[in-house]
Structures are given as C-alpha cells and as structure tokens.
Symmetry: C2
Subunit: 250 residues, 2 copies
DNA sequence: AAGTGGTCTAGACCACAAG
DNA sequence: TTGTGGTCTAGACCACTTT
C-alpha cells in the first residue's frame, strides 16, 4: 500500500523530478524566493534541460512556481481566492469595492459565433463590447469581454461618449437599468488569446480559466460575459459566503 | 487596429501552427476523425516533431483534440456541460439519476493538510474517505474523494459494512441524516494525481479542474469533497437553470 | 553585456494498442 | 509485429530583463 512501487511501472523522469522539486519547495524555499536557473537545475539533477522544463511547467500549472523570461523562476504565493458566483445576481459593475473590476474600453462589433449562439442573435448582429480588467494587489487577475446586444440598452442609440473607460462606464450604467432576472455560469480551461495575455501580463497560450456568464432580463439573454482568469494565480470561488477577493479563504 | 501586425513581433511557429490546425479542424475534419500521425504532420508543415507537438498540446488543452498512445490523434467532440453548482444544496448522493455519481469505495485515513484545514480538524485526525466516480455516456468525467470526519456520522462507530461500493453507500446514507445548512465551492486548475488519472482514463499529470466543495451542517464544516474533472472534456456549469449533465447547454 | 526563460531542431528509445 | 503517441537528449538560437 504505502510502498514505493519498485519501478514495476517505471515513472517518467520529469514526474519524479516534479515530486522532488515539490518537496523541496515545501521545505527549503520561501515564497518569492528565486530558484537556480534551468541550466543549473538540469545539470544538478542530471537531466536534459527540456526534461527539467517539463517538470517546471507542471509545477507552474499547479500554481507552485512562477517563471518570467529574463528574470528567473520564483516560488509562487498561494492562489488568490476570487469570488465569481455572485449569488445576489447583480449586474456587472454594481458590486462593492472589493469587486475590483475596472472598465477599460468599449466598442461595437460582431461577437464570435459561440457568443452569438448564447445571445440567440444572428451570426452578423453587432453588439456593444465592453472590456474590463479585474485587479487585485496590483496584479491583473482577469480580462473580460462583455457582449451586450443593442436591444438590451435602447438608451444607447446615440453614441456620444468618447472611447476609453468613460464610454465603457456609460454602457454599463445603461445596462443596469434593466431588471436582472437570473444568470448562469460555466467554467472551462482554455489558453490565453494574444490580447488577453497582454492584459494579464502573461505569454499567449498560457492556461486560463474561462468563465462564461449569461445574464437574463426581459425573458431573454440580455448580455454575455466571457472572463479570462489567470489559471496559475486564481482559485475561483462560488459560495454562499460570497463577496469579493479573498486571500486564502481557508 | 484590425491589421495583421506584419511580424513586427514574430509569432512563434507553434502558435501559427496551432491557428492553421485549428482552422483546418473547423473546415476539413469531422468529430472523431483521425488526423495524420505526428511525424507526418511535422514533415508536412516543415517543422520538428517537438514543435508540432507543442501545437497539438495546446489544442488538446482547449478540448479540440484527443490523443491516445498507440492509437492516434482524433478530433474531440464539444465539451460536455456538467452541472456542479447544485443550487438546491443537497448532500452528495441524493441527486436524480442524471447526477451519475457512482460510489466506488470507502476507508478511513488522515486527510491531506489542505483538507484538514477546511475541516477545522487536527492534522492527524482520521476521517472517512469515500471515493466516487462521475460518468457520462460511458466516459469517466470526474473522480472524487469525500472526506467526512467521524463526528459528522455518529452512527458509524461500528464498521460492519464490507469494503467496496456497499460500504461507500452506507457512509453516504448516514451523512444524509444531517440537515445541510449550506455549501461553498472553489474551482482551480491542477494536474491529475496517479490514482485519479487511472480513474479518469488519462495519463498522470493531465490538466484537470479541481472542484472543492465544503458542506456545512450543525454550524460547522461537516464534510469536504475534492472532485477532479477532466479539463479536456468538461465544462463546469453553475446555474440557476441547474440539473445534471447537459450536452452543449448552448 | 550578461543572464534568464522561450523556442526549435534532429535525432533516439519506450510504452501501448491493434492487427 | 507494426504504428502510434510519450519521453528524453544535447545541442542551438532568440526575446527579454537587468546591470
């Protein structure tokens, strides 16, 4: 049971390496501490750099490490608990300060097919698109695109507001006039698109948790939000105990 | 804005490859269809196999492809929407048939430190551990470990039930006698442990979505579930419209 | 300029599934 | 036995950050 398996099924090197490194992180390193560089670690363990990297990649995926080009590999802090569930069913932008969403911009565009499907919209129907960013302790946690069909915000036929945050706020304010009847959400794994990656201070392709929220009002889908959370630093919480960003909601 | 960037920041090869393959999947391949093998694809695109694999890995991460050793690479079906939120706040095992959780086994053990913390238990306190599997269409979706302090199920001091599913069911039945007062959940990215990987029919280290559920009863944490969902095939839904496994809850 | 992680190559061998 | 994806090597060069 508790034995060591005696290599009857030989463990891949990178898997064993990962275990060794993981234990070392627990016992010998402090959060924020910088590890020896990849070439040295590989030499020290007697493996090729690619193999060492395979282990580091998994540890980064699990939120144990953080790697930055030109800088080095550091021990990551525990993941931040981020409230996502919002049991109060409120519109975006109406939360308290802990919500920490910052409007960035807004424009009009045809949504991607998957979003159009959720909106029951035609494939070529334009929507307002509001970009927001969620921050915590100066670090970006998530980048979001909010898709709002023109029909949901009838007060916005005349677009006087300039670009940038001001316009985004105008659209959100208009959206809040509707009575929200419900929402549902889905979470899945994805990889960061180039634009989101930039917003999140990560490389394109980094693993992200994609949260799709559908807002219901007036008996139909009034808006759809697609939020991209950094998978390395975030733990998404859906709780009765709701509310804002938590550090170690243990 | 909408321009093509003219390579001022040269795109990595694997990133471009991923785009090309992704478009090809949309237009030229049907779900379940098998792709040419990696050596041939690499030759066809004029890149090393490792580079081609980097592109395939990302597409698999996004749920577009499925790769099986000894078999080949196939086009994956759309992700399955799996209801996780459970707005009714019911105990595990009390859902309808669509719930599709199957008890596997039960034993007693000291939970990992992270779980003990959630249970407000001492680091060496034993709990009942119930293993369950969630299936859909013959495919395993998730593997779960349910940790139940002995104090939550006082009726179980005498353990007469044999091992296996029968014993697991006995523990769950006993747990249901408590009045559930609430629950909260968290979702984060992880990599499959060896035991979960086996249960999920994946290789160890595959990306998984880890759902941690805390059940409240009698004014304290009465149980903690740690469920490991296949990230490649699952989209976790937290909805007002709740209920069971959905295929494309679009 | 030096040092870091990120990308890429061209091989090799292994574990697994299917004929 | 054959063919597949999975692991591993020993290099090379590039992009980025810091000094």
């Amino acid at each position: 049971m508790g034995t060591t398996q005696l290599e009857s099924v030989p463990e891949p090197k990178y898997w064993h390496l990962k275990t060794v490194l993981s234990d070392a992180l627990d016992s010998e390193f402090a959060v924020g501490e910088i590890l020896p560089n990849e070439r040295e670690l590989a030499a020290r363990f007697g493996v090729a750099r690619a193999t060492l990297r395979q282990a580091l990649e998994q540890l980064e995926l699990e939120g144990r490490l953080q790697r930055r080009r030109g800088v080095g590999t550091t021990v990551a802090p525990p993941r931040v608990g981020v409230s996502v569930g919002d049991p109060g069913h409120s519109w975006p932008g109406t939360g308290d300060a802990a919500d920490a969403w910052q409007p960035v911009d807004s424009h009009q565009a045809v949504p991607p097919a998957a979003v159009a499907r959720l909106l029951d919209a035609g494939p070529d129907e334009e929507t307002h698109v509001v970009r927001r960013t969620r921050m915590s302790h100066g670090q970006p946690l998530a980048a979001e695109l909010l898709y709002i069909p023109a029909g949901s915000v009838p007060g916005l036929s005349a677009i006087d507001a300039p670009g940038g945050p001001a316009r985004a706020r105008t659209v959100l304010r208009e959206l809040c006039r509707l009575e929200l009847e419900g929402q549902d959400q889905a979470v899945e794994l994805g990889s960061a698109r180039a634009d989101d990656a930039k917003e999140l201070d990560r490389l394109p392709g980094s693993p992200v948790l994609i949260v799709t929220t559908r807002y219901y009002a007036q008996g139909r889908t009034a808006a759809v939000a697609v939020a991209t959370y950094r998978a390395d630093t975030c733990r998404l919480t859906f709780g009765d105990t709701g509310g804002g960003v938590q550090l170690l909601a243990g």
